[in-house]
């Protein structure tokens, strides 16, 4: 086994070892062990320490993972096992060193929790799996063994036999799918797509009243973020304006509905729908105020200016100076929402409202994208100077994009405030803008399924997965980085017809055809 492979494997092992130490220091391993134990049936009370064997499963899994990833496909079996061994050994050494420190802390009874909050003695004993000082050697052995096992598994799963059987299964599935599709009646084949949408529609109609108010709440939130995300997409994706201050528009919509529909601070009760319209209008006005002075700014500058605007709006809402008008840091409570035939909306009707608004937004988005305005935006985004040369009024269209996007965000904000019955300056921080931005980029910019998926992943899943609650934001940050590294075009990227590519292909095909003819 040559030097390079050795270095690569040991580096991998060391990296994994450091990652494991980090996870231990943030108590992630306890959460993982808890999850494993729940999966296997043993329930663990919140905050209690699960049994040690679940930690063993977790650590072994880690070791197998590193063994697997260290073994590279191109080498012979013997080398691969060695790679797994080396990786496991390096990781084991790193963890063993860490264990040495832990044992020292235990033996001198030094309480480090003032500095590293999870190094309590219970935790240390748990990580050493109850073996105390012997835990060092136990860990070392465990990682070496599981590294080897991992590489063996890799050999097995990547071997010819397994690959062949995988291919056979795939072929079988494809064939059976084709057979089933052939056997379907013609009617279904023709209308398949429409049937799918019909089923989806029926589900969407029935689910809100069935699945309980918690899911209505969570998916309602997802829906609102989708609407705001479509707004941001119009500004950022369709017309290329770098905007990170969406929270300002959202706040305008929310506060308009709130101020005009609550007993304090003004005692106005103008009704939800007029207030919503006013909210959208207010958002558009703020967009104009934001767009006019900044029309000449380049991308990143525009971003920082819009960030500034977002913060200005929030700070003004919170300030003493305007608190008689906006309610100050206390916020506005008891917002009256819309009523349907005398009864105020409950969570089910809100869900329907949000679904309708989502449908309208998606429809508008598609119409805009394909309209003349949409093409003008595309031109501005792709090449500013050429667009100007072709007679597109840059400033007008940019402003239009800002206004329309702001309107969507204002709509979402208004419904948001009414649904929560309360809103305050802390609901409209910079993080809201960041969330919406991340959502459309992780989901896939310029693609509606992408935005839906992004909203669900970034807003819906963390609510549902409250098990990993404390680590929610940590995972969110890591997810953003990983997504950008692995799949920057988004989870469900837009499929834009690539005319250049099609033309090139056609030319190649024609060329190939003519060559055949000349050969023949």
């Amino acid at each position: 086994m040559n030097r390079q492979l050795f270095r690569a494997s040991s580096q991998k092992g060391i990296t994994f070892g450091i990652v494991l130490i980090f996870l231990v220091l943030i108590n992630f391993h306890i959460m993982a062990a808890t999850m494993i134990s729940k999966l296997m049936g043993t329930n663990v009370l919140r905050g209690a320490i699960p049994e040690v064997r679940f930690l063993t499963y977790f650590l072994v899994f880690f070791g197998i993972w590193i063994g697997w990833s260290a073994a590279s496909k191109s080498e012979k079996a013997g080398t691969r096992v060695l790679q797994g061994l080396v990786a496991g050994l390096s990781m084991g050494v790193v963890v063993a060193l860490f264990d040495l420190i832990l044992v020292y802390l235990l033996q001198t009874q030094t309480d480090m929790r003032r500095y590293l909050t999870n190094l309590g003695f219970d935790n240390i004993n748990f990580f050493l799996q109850g073996f105390g000082a012997n835990g060092i050697l136990v860990h070392l052995g465990m990682f070496v063994l599981s590294g080897v096992v991992g590489s063996v598994l890799e050999i097995f799963f990547q071997s010819e036999g397994v690959a062949n059987s995988k291919q056979a299964v795939r072929n079988f599935l494809a064939e059976s799918k084709d057979q089933i599709l052939d056997r379907l009646p013609d009617l279904v084949k023709k209308t398949g797509k429409y049937l799918f949408y019909l089923i989806l529609l029926v589900l969407l109609f029935m689910l809100p009243s069935r699945w309980g108010s918690y899911y209505n709440f969570v998916f309602g939130l997802v829906g609102l973020y989708v609407i705001a995300g479509i707004g941001l997409n119009i500004m950022l994706g369709l017309s290329g304006q770098f905007m990170i201050g969406l929270a300002a528009f959202f706040a305008m919509g929310a506060y308009s509905v709130a101020l005009l529909n609550a007993p304090q601070p003004h005692g106005l009760m103008w009704g939800f729908w007029p207030a919503l319209l006013i909210g959208i209008l207010a958002a558009v006005i703020v967009a104009i105020l934001m767009g006019l002075p900044t029309a000449r700014l380049r991308g990143d500058y525009l971003g920082i200016v819009t960030l500034g605007f977002g913060e200005i709006v929030r700070l003004l809402l919170q300030s003493d100076v305007l608190s008689k008008f906006t309610g100050g840091p206390r916020g506005i409570q008891n917002i009256q929402g819309p009523t349907l035939m005398g009864k105020p909306f409950n969570d089910v009707t809100y869900m329907y409202l949000i679904l309708i608004c989502m449908a309208v937004s998606i429809f508008l988005y598609y119409r805009l994208e394909k309209s003349r305005t949409g093409r003008a935006w595309l031109a501005i985004k792709e090449d500013l100077i050429v667009a100007q040369a072709t007679g597109v009024n840059i400033q007008k269209y940019r402003l239009l994009a800002l206004c329309i996007g702001a309107a969507f965000a204002g709509l979402a904000g208004g419904i948001f405030a009414a649904r929560n019955l309360f809103t305050g300056p802390n609901d409209h921080t910079f993080m809201v803008s960041i969330n919406i931005l991340s959502l459309i980029i992780v989901g896939g910019m310029n693609s509606i399924p992408g935005i839906l998926l992004g909203a669900f992943t970034l807003k819906g899943l963390p609510e549902i997965l409250r098990e990993i609650e404390n680590y929610r934001l940590l995972v969110f940050g890591a997810l953003l980085v990983v997504m950008m590294l692995v799949r920057p075009e988004g989870l469900w990227p837009a499929s834009r017809p690539n005319l250049e590519h099609e033309v090139k292909e056609k030319i190649m095909k024609d060329k190939a055809l003519s060559e055949e003819e000349s050969d023949a």
């Binding site: 919140r46 480090m112 069935r210 699945w211 108010s213 840091p329 409570q333 609901d427």
Partner: protein
């Protein structure tokens, strides 16, 4: 294209799975007064009281735990409050022990201190039939959004720190809180400064957050009503690291004292900055948010002579000392270092558990039945209940702390009670 189909199928599957997984929670449907309240007795052994209770009963099967919820910011800039509350709550649950063979469990959820989070957590708790009470929420904004949801399903709230006065003016049956309102503390502080300390020129600062601003404004108004001069009423930007500019500006007006509504972090910075901005001789007068060893550590000698407030605590009881030791041992930091509401959280969790044991009935089938309406009323009717942080009486609207604050002065690096 294939990948997209797979992804959408996965998402659809996940949605369907999610909608099927939890038992359709009957507690989530609004059991409003107009619906026929009498449920057919589900199983033999359900006590009669459940049929007449306006919210019905929570049923805890043998093997399940009685859950006490907690909503607080556990991530983000204010996470110290949430983590501290969870720590206290866990000790409270451990101290309380079992009841009729059933264990209590603390379920602390992150509401980020905002209305959005508060509503999300409230919905989650409302959908879980084994959550019977909530020791929260910690922040007023979240409490506002959460209370109507709890009101619908009958989960009582006992908040250790939500001080927005309007919370108890909404007519909620379920909302109660143990800290004194800003109205009470502000008035008492103004009176103390004017009558006892004899100040006539005071500058009032707050941290621009709900709690601090309300407090400072009331204190300033009361001080002025008494005849004092409010030199300045200003908000600072919270969690900044240097307040010299604003303090220099205040120094120009020569106040005798600086009253601050906010928490220890900003209070520490302000106290330190006061020494270098011309306010060396002014007295720092804080509130219950600024009280704690945290403040002493931050300000060292600069904090001498400053005033702070707490609820009227019984003199250091053995229970309090035991709690302090338990906290330190379990978490490695002292109580009160993460947030000033450590003791309040312990008490609210304990009080809720106590009331549960008072109203719960063991059914014939071995399950525990907790009539929700009775629990809501029991929590509201807390009278002269003494915990480690004070004595509380909640009727009629849920403001449980009607005694005024106790003031403390820092002498030789320690807190000394002055009234």
């Amino acid at each position: 294209m294939k990948k997209h189909v797979y992804v959408s199928l996965v998402v659809l599957f996940a949605l369907l799975l999610a909608s099927c997984a939890p038992a359709a929670a009957p507690a989530a449907e609004a059991p409003a007064a107009e619906a026929p309240a009498a449920e057919a007795p589900a199983a033999a052994g359900e006590p009669a009281v459940c049929a007449t209770d306006d919210y019905g009963c929570a049923k805890i099967e043998p093997g399940q735990t009685i859950k006490i919820g907690m909503g607080s910011p556990m991530t983000g800039g204010d996470s110290a409050f949430g983590i501290d509350a969870e720590n206290s709550g866990k000790i409270a649950v451990a101290d309380f022990g079992e009841f009729e063979g059933f264990q209590f469990e603390l379920v602390a959820e992150d509401d980020t201190g905002t209305a959005e989070g508060g509503a999300a957590v409230a919905n989650k708790f409302a959908a879980d039939p084994t959550v019977v009470g909530v020791a929260g929420h910690l922040f007023s904004g979240a409490s506002f959004a959460a209370a109507p949801i709890y009101e619908e399903v009958g989960i009582p709230m006992l908040s250790p720190s939500a001080t927005n006065p309007d919370l108890t003016k909404q007519g909620f049956r379920v909302f109660n809180r143990v800290p004194f309102t800003d109205a009470l503390q502000g008035k008492a502080a103004a009176e103390y400064m004017y009558n006892v300390l004899g100040f006539t020129k005071v500058a009032f600062l707050h941290d621009s957050q709900d709690y601090g601003k309300g407090l400072a404004e009331i204190a300033a108004a009361e001080f002025e009503a008494l005849g004092g001069e409010v030199v300045e009423l200003l908000g600072i930007v919270s969690k900044e690291a240097d307040y010299s500019p604003v303090l220099s500006t205040i120094a120009a007006k020569d106040p005798e004292a600086v009253y601050f509504g906010g928490y220890t972090q900003d209070a520490g910075v302000i106290t330190n900055n006061m020494k270098t901005t011309g306010l060396e001789n002014a007295v720092f007068f804080g509130c219950d948010g600024t009280f704690g060893t945290d403040y002493l550590n931050r300000t060292a000698a600069n904090g001498e002579g400053s005033y702070h407030a707490t609820p009227r605590t019984p003199p250091d009881t053995p229970e309090k000392a035991a709690f302090d030791d338990a906290y330190m041992e379990a978490y490695g930091v002292g109580p009160g270092e993460l947030s000033p509401f450590t003791w309040n959280s312990y008490d609210t969790t304990t009080a809720l558990m106590e009331k549960v044991t008072e109203v719960a009935v063991l059914g014939g089938d071995g399950a525990l039945y907790i009539p929700r309406g009775a629990l809501v009323d029991a929590v509201r009717n807390l009278t002269n209940w003494t915990g480690i942080s004070g004595t509380y009486t909640c009727p009629p609207v849920g403001d449980c702390n009607i005694e005024g604050p106790q003031f403390w002065v820092v002498e030789n690096g320690e807190f000394v009670a002055v009234n």
